[in-house]
Symmetry: C2
Subunit: 312 residues, 2 copies
């Protein structure tokens, strides 16, 4: 009963109401209490770290997977209470294994049912070729190129459409994995920003919030499954993630200390890690988007791709 059992477990009782438990990730819960408990934890994090203020316009980045849909779902339930506006942006990243008509339909349907403003952005051709072709020609790993493009578009789209915050579905599993990867490569500047909220440090950079910072991936999955919310995640991301050494390591730690990731991010929330390194943001000489160089990473890839294509 690590995730959801199909049948209620007669022996294990819900920690809150003593009815038979159906999910047991950190503690056993029945369906109703699990949902209540999950949403209360997200709400408490939002309050504690002041992720949201009255009148905010928040854009949720939704791929169609369990994490981003969990994030959009909780936020949609909290709209009235915290008095903010909510929009969802789904990007077609131009890689058919990742985004396609099915993911588009899932995300659009999700927003329609909840009366959330739905935005769609088609990235295919944005770089002058398909994302897969650009990755191949410029010899850049596809997942890294896709991530870079999404960050670029989310920030730009949010700003140009009047959103003052971007919410992502990053959860405790992601945060812990990011911490270790960046710790080993000593990117303390990146780690210092790995908080439930990263406040904008440039007029063109939109503030990021991570409402699921303390939630486990397994909890997001249970949250989606119990409510029977249709999902359509990127099979490519999951595939590569499961081949990642850090994924294996964290799974092993889980087996020994099942509350490790939760406790780890709870500490990271309050840890003060500073970095001597300062990256000053300016604006890209080409597209005007924020960058710590003269030309932003997206324009550099674009330029490189076109140069190689012309020379062939």
């Amino acid at each position: 009963m690590t995730e959801i059992s199909q049948q209620e477990n007669k022996k294990t009782k819900c920690i809150a109401c003593k009815k038979p438990a159906i999910v047991n990730i950190m503690n056993p819960f029945c369906k109703e209490c699990f949902i209540k408990h999950y949403e209360r934890r997200v709400e408490n994090l939002i309050k504690r770290h002041k992720l949201v203020r009255k009148g905010d316009k928040i854009l949720v980045a939704v791929s169609g997977g369990k994490d981003s849909l969990s994030c959009a779902n909780v936020l949609s339930k909290l709209r009235e209470k915290f008095d903010f506006e909510l929009g969802v942006l789904h990007i077609d990243v131009g890689i058919p294994e990742c985004t396609n008509e099915r993911t588009l339909n899932v995300v659009e349907g999700f927003c329609r049912e909840r009366d959330i403003t739905f935005h769609f952005y088609d990235l295919s051709g944005f770089l002058g070729g398909t994302t897969a072709e650009v990755a191949k020609v410029t010899r850049r790993p596809l997942c890294s190129l896709c991530g870079m493009l999404k960050r670029y578009v989310f920030n730009r789209f949010a700003r140009e459409n009047g959103y003052n915050k971007i919410a992502t579905g990053h959860c405790a599993d992601d945060v812990t994995r990011f911490f270790f990867k960046n710790w080993i490569s000593r990117d303390f500047l990146w780690i210092s920003k790995l908080k439930p909220i990263t406040v904008s440090d440039h007029p063109k950079v939109v503030t990021r919030i991570r409402p699921l910072y303390e939630m486990l991936e397994a909890e997001n999955l249970a949250y989606i499954q119990i409510q029977q919310i249709p999902i359509a995640g990127c099979s490519r991301c999951s595939y590569f993630l499961r081949r990642d050494k850090w994924f294996d390591i964290l799974r092993l730690i889980d087996e020994h200390k099942k509350d490790f990731k939760f406790n780890f991010v709870k500490a990271l929330e309050v840890a003060e890690i500073s970095s001597k390194e300062k990256r000053d943001f300016g604006e890209c000489a080409n597209c005007g988007e924020p960058t710590d160089g003269d030309v932003c990473a997206v324009c550099r890839v674009k330029e490189r791709y076109n140069r190689i294509k012309l020379s062939v």
Copy 2:
């Protein structure tokens, strides 16, 4: 061939001289090159973090185990080069499984052979009863009581005998384990001091240095075994350490990323972790030793033990 093979491995060559390798922990080495490489790494750390200055008087805390003896051995070889004086303090902690005539003979013999000033301190009876009895009566775990007593005595003994630095054999395995334990309990003040050198912040606290900060436990063992240095470690400590969950977790990580602990501490060396918490040191109202309370932990245990004994 994770530690030392009894026979030279014909297939694996020493990374430095191409002779057959006999030890392969992070890289394959023959005996001579391993020792050279080990000592060079310690020397580089000492220089990089300025652990030692000309004219220092350094007291090494030696239990008789592989780590503390490795530390004392490297330092004894570097005495002339860095121009410092060296002493060793071996404490009889009053627990026969940990320190006894055998450990005393091993440490004394080690010092005699290398012309290192040897000091011995007998803790038995220091608290008014044997350490085991005090632990039982005051319901304090024996290992925690032993650690507390040793820290107290080392600091006091060093200061009263003109030593301006204490060196311990803490290695990358210890540092990583301490980091995780203290991170989860959010003791960032402790973590911020987990560096190759912890400079004294009170006139009665002696500066600590950790010359083996970057070395792995397995490397210390190989260093001792290759040189056939007799050791006599505390069987109790090893036993409890191997039952520690963090020990298992780090072993599992090792299997996936064999350079993890090394890279982890290399990052911790330069990480800037701060803590809002400040612990101001004063002096114990009873014994005058540094403490962040009115009465130090050792005097509190002593007092508690005598109170319970009298009331029985």
